[in-house]
Symmetry: C2
Subunit: 324 residues, 2 copies
Amino acid sequence: MIYEKEAQDIVNQRIDSYNYNLNPKGLYEPIRYILSMGGKRMRSVFTLLGCNLFDDDVSPAIDTAVGVEIFHNFTLLHDDIMDKAPMRRGMPTVHQKWNDNTAILSGDAMQIEAYRWMTKTPLHCLKPVLDLFSQTALQVCEGQQYDMDFESRSDVSLQEYINMIRLKTAVLMACSLQIGGWIGGAGDKDAHVLYDCGINLGLAFQLQDDLLDVYGSADLFGKKIGGDILCNKKTFLLILAFDKAQGETLRQLKFCTTTDTYGEQEKITIVRNIYNELNIRELCQIEIMRYYQDALQLIGELSCSQERTKPLRCFVETLMMREA
Amino acid sequence: MIYEKEAQDIVNQRIDSYNYNLNPKGLYEPIRYILSMGGKRMRSVFTLLGCNLFDDDVSPAIDTAVGVEIFHNFTLLHDDIMDKAPMRRGMPTVHQKWNDNTAILSGDAMQIEAYRWMTKTPLHCLKPVLDLFSQTALQVCEGQQYDMDFESRSDVSLQEYINMIRLKTAVLMACSLQIGGWIGGAGDKDAHVLYDCGINLGLAFQLQDDLLDVYGSADLFGKKIGGDILCNKKTFLLILAFDKAQGETLRQLKFCTTTDTYGEQEKITIVRNIYNELNIRELCQIEIMRYYQDALQLIGELSCSQERTKPLRCFVETLMMREA
């Protein structure tokens, strides 16, 4: 059986083995660039661990895992254009280093590359894998659209927010895990359990991101702390705070998120103090742990032995502890 | 057997039958909008006629044909952002009617939709169809990148230009035709002949576009005549003119395409006069006819009866005569 680190290495090796030094350079160089930035390769690790639950040999799942990973990196590339983000993983984003047109077109090519890799899925499950992948990829676009729609709305409910991150983040993790299971030979029941498990992991993961943006360590997190607060991003924390706040606190929170009165650090401090006063950090942590516990319980419901689920459980525990 | 018009109707019906009134509206409304603009549906017609060469029943090829058509419309959507084009088929482009972010994301979703339809290809040829489609889609991106690269170059050769339009335009027509053949049951030899035939048709079609931009009727063509001349686009005509021009004519052509001295209509007239002087129109028409003749000859090499190839030959003849 393989563990997270080994799965990550397998995926990185396969990605590196591919020759992206093709012409025209303007198309392929940005793809090489963003794929070489690294990252956790979480989604492809899910695919390999999902496969490994049912089959000792994960090799039939590697190309599919790479496909999922390339698709995820494509979404980052295009999201960065839409968000006008200058940096990603401590490096200039593609549209910043080149230009918007290059970022659009290279992203388009990456999406095709993702499908090209997905199409190497073993023939016996090619069609169901592609159907689930396409459905999922569309949902990721829907999530991104809702996320952008939320920017100009002030009445986003917690339920709407959870639905948005389910689409934008969780379904791709769920899909990665289920596809891995399918390739390994999982039956329908196990496949669905894996999907639900991935949804819970994805929701927990995104809520952690929201939390780390406010309470993380800048050194570990690799991003500026408080970024979401500065751009009034509707995160779980902010929506929850608006739900809980009353009287003077509510007035202060409204004022703070609708005016440009405060300096950057000052604004972050005020909003964080409101969060502290309302217990937002703890409430968010409770939600996160609930999703992780649900995921672990679902893993327990799989038809495979406790022993076989160990790498996946270890990976989930690593995610639970993450500070970056 | 079905002819162009019937094939077009079948594709349009299938496209219309699909419910694009989904949420979020910001994502799906632009897709519905660009698909409702119409167009010749050439690529999907190729797929259905290709299938019909070998099978009386084209129904197994319809979803695949729709997939190819949606992919083509996706490329138009994203190309329009990159070219900052305000109009398409007499209507505002998506990025103009909405905004760049909407156009990027809706385009991404369309590309996924294209694959979703392609995945409905009959299982017995699903993998080869998807492999050829992905290879082709990547080549289309390569063609678009070369086209953008050419904007800042003054030494583009005719050979480079033909290679660019082969990638940007011809390979998708070739792929559409070959895929249709495969679904109909074509053997390897016929499939390759269809591909080569599509390449010739695509090259002829694009050269016609270049020609119509200078010598077409604005009413019929639906675009402003002389648009390529105004933006110094490296078309077959301009590159050929630079190849042929000498002395004062060459000096005048260089001056005209590198300075902003002339008014719009004046510039178009000067360049067109140079083209006339150098016989560019006739030389281009000869090339176009050569490609069409090669395409017709390849159709003659197919293993099916003359009778069965009639709809495809008719379609090619319609294309030869086109003024729009």
